[in-house]
């Protein structure tokens, strides 16, 4: 390392190695779609007491925009909120909805918990996996099809136990999903 890292004159703290702008080790800088940064700034205004509270909203926005939370995303959000990247990374690894790797374009989440299980959600999940040709699950329980089109996973209770079994496909919620209905839905999202 030829360039010594900068020292903040106010705090005398050495700037972290991966402070913004994002290091090239993580690939080319992303291009933000129009309005992305403005939307981030708007979200931050919801938390006049502490910018840190905007962590989850910015992570949601990043994932909705780019599909997953990349190391760049973690560093960018951290810099935006005057935090260290670890403050953001520890959220990504804690909250089940955030993912660090791209997954299929059509994400099928089948509720696994008791009422849905009583109504046949295990068979339903099997059915989706079979129809989507997904391989065995990864470490996070997500089964992806080889061409990367589908990702099928079990999730815990999504709060509609009276219309079990229920699923989500991407952000859409579907209830009382029979095997026949499952096939219809797959056709719709194709």
């Amino acid at each position: 390392m030829s360039n010594p890292r900068a020292v903040d004159p106010a705090t005398q703290l050495v700037e972290p190695e991966h402070a913004f702008p994002v290091s090239e080790a993580h690939g080319a800088l992303v291009t933000f779609p129009t309005g992305f940064e403005a939307k981030c700034d708007e979200l931050i205004t919801h938390y006049p007491v502490s910018k840190r509270s905007a962590s989850l909203p910015l992570l949601h926005l990043w994932q909705e925009t780019f599909g997953h939370i990349s190391p760049q995303g973690i560093e960018w959000i951290a810099a935006k909120l005057d935090l260290q990247p670890i403050n953001i990374l520890e959220l990504v690894t804690f909250y089940p909805m955030f993912r660090q790797h791209p997954i299929g374009r059509i994400q099928i989440k089948v509720c696994r918990t008791l009422s849905c299980a009583l109504a046949g959600s295990y068979k339903l999940c099997d059915h989706f996996r079979e129809r989507c040709g997904t391989a065995t699950s990864d470490a996070h329980g997500i089964a992806s099809s080889p061409e990367g089109k589908y990702a099928v996973e079990f999730v815990e209770c999504i709060a509609s136990c009276g219309t079990a079994p229920v699923i989500m496909i991407n952000d859409d919620f579907h209830e009382a999903v029979t095997l026949q209905r499952a096939d219809e839905l797959l056709g719709k999202y194709d």
Partner: protein, 463 residues
């Protein structure tokens, strides 16, 4: 004649032609209760809520008025925050979803009144991440309320300002625990805080006094203001006032959500008269009465319930499972809880070990990992029930399950420890013969077909 529903909160929900927009809400008398509230002063509203004896609808059943009363407006110098807990994720519960999706302004009106009563100027709705559309509906409702002058600066021409923002969670059950929720809203992992000292009423959001109320609780506030606390307290039973949203799922003919006066009907009336009985004419085996953390109740059990007679003396009655009246106190006396109002019914064909294995998988997945007994114990219990289901159990497993559960409850920072221990303790104690059979490897694979299998692949093999 079956007991009639008393629709207070669900009055408009699912009614033909009723839509979630503000025009429809205003046409149906919406925001009139807020206007009334704004003519009263805050402490007067808090007093009405105390008179109403309203108990929280999130699970613990804590007195709402008392919760509010912890913050003394005369002594407190810090800002007060209010958070609506819309993180509905207790298995078996799906009531808040109906309100948020179908009548969002009712929640907003209740929430604005609660904020006004407690002198709150900044409030958040913490909604679970999976309610993607729900969050959009609430955001639209907030924008509409602002346009109409019910939110923002100088609400309805008074000098009172309030901002409400929607904050989405991201799939963690523990965010339903109020201090975990607060940590999450501060942008951190949702690790619950230790109490004392971190009671939300003292050191809550940003270390300021904070009120965390469930969606249904806040909706009730609107009705308390309209009716007055004393009138509200006449609904239901003393100390169990108001109505209750009951969510029934599992093996009944007609599952769904219903609203009844608290204690107006028994479990038997709910299941047989309202929900059309057990599916396929089969027999009842067990009921989880208040979300999956509540202790399971077994058909055929007898409970000794004490109650006060009109002359003030106490009497003790022995009743069966279907005779339990659905209120906080009777369910507690029966050794379980009314919890979040999520009732899961299981029929005679269900394997209780598999059902517990399913619940254990949930808690093992959702433990936040902060306290050792819960982090290790929930996973350990899951492993034991998994191997019991797989026919690989050990003779000592039922006892082991009880030992592990006994050593979690009471040894953790938050109530998740109890939430994951109670199902295990109750299932093992109440269905010893099923656990023993599994432990001895006597349950044939075919008997497990299609109920609650462990792995999808195994379900396939069985089918």
């Amino acid at each position: 004649m079956p007991v009639q529903e008393r629709r207070l909160i669900l009055a408009n929900i699912d009614r033909d032609g009723y839509t979630p927009d503000i025009d429809c809400y205003l046409r149906n008398g919406g925001y009139a209760d807020l206007k009334k509230a704004l003519t009263l002063d805050g402490p007067a509203i808090v007093a009405e809520v105390k008179t109403s004896q309203l108990r929280g609808r999130g699970g613990a059943g804590f007195s709402c008025g008392m919760k509010w009363g912890f913050i003394d407006p005369k002594k407190n110098t810090k800002p007060v925050y209010l958070i609506c807990n819309a993180d509905e994720s207790e298995p078996g519960t799906f009531k808040d979803r109906q309100i948020i999706y179908k009548d969002p302004h009712q929640l907003l009106e209740g929430m604005i009144i609660a904020c006004y009563a407690n002198n709150v100027h900044l409030a958040y709705i913490y909604i679970r991440g999976e309610f993607v559309l729900g969050a959009q509906i609430l955001e639209k409702a907030i924008a509409e309320a602002k346009t109409e002058g019910f939110l923002g600066k100088a609400i309805n021409g008074t000098g009172y300002d309030l901002e409400i923002y929607v904050h989405r969670g991201a799939g963690a059950y523990i965010c339903g625990e109020e201090t975990g929720l607060i940590e999450s809203l501060e942008g951190k992992r949702a690790y619950p805080r230790i109490k004392p000292p971190y009671f939300p009423a003292v050191l809550g959001l940003y270390m300021c006094p904070t009120i965390v109320n469930n969606v249904e609780t806040l909706c009730n506030i609107k009705h308390i203001v309209r009716m007055g606390g004393a009138e509200f307290a006449k609904i239901g039973k003393p100390n169990n006032t108001g109505t209750r949203l009951l969510c029934v799922s599992g093996d009944v003919e007609k599952p769904g959500y219903f609203e009844f006066e608290v204690g107006a009907l028994t479990m038997g009336e709910l299941i047989n008269d309202v929900c059309g009985g057990i599916k396929g004419g089969r027999k009842l085996k067990a009921i989880i009465p208040g979300g999956s953390s509540a202790k399971v109740l077994r058909a055929g059990e007898r409970y000794k319930i004490k109650s006060k007679k009109p002359d003030g003396t106490m009497e003790e009655k022995e009743i069966g499972l279907l005779d339990i009246t659905l209120d906080f106190d009777t369910l507690a006396a029966a050794g379980s809880m009314a919890g979040s109002g999520g009732i899961i019914v299981m029929d005679e064909t269900r394997d209780m070990v598999e059902c517990l294995a399913n619940i254990n998988t949930f808690y093992a997945h959702e433990s936040c990992g902060q306290c050792t007994p819960c982090r290790e114990g929930s996973l350990w219990m899951k492993k034991v029930t998994d191997r019991l289901v797989a026919g690989e159990g050990l003779p000592g497993d039922p006892k082991l399950l009880k030992t592990v559960a006994d050593n979690i409850a009471g040894r953790t920072i938050c109530a998740f420890g109890e939430a994951c221990a109670w199902p295990v303790q109750s299932f093992v104690a109440k269905f010893p013969e099923e656990f023993a059979k599994h432990a001895e490897g006597k349950v044939a694979t075919a008997a497990r077909k299609g109920t609650v299998a462990q792995e999808p692949s195994k379900a396939m093999e069985a089918a």
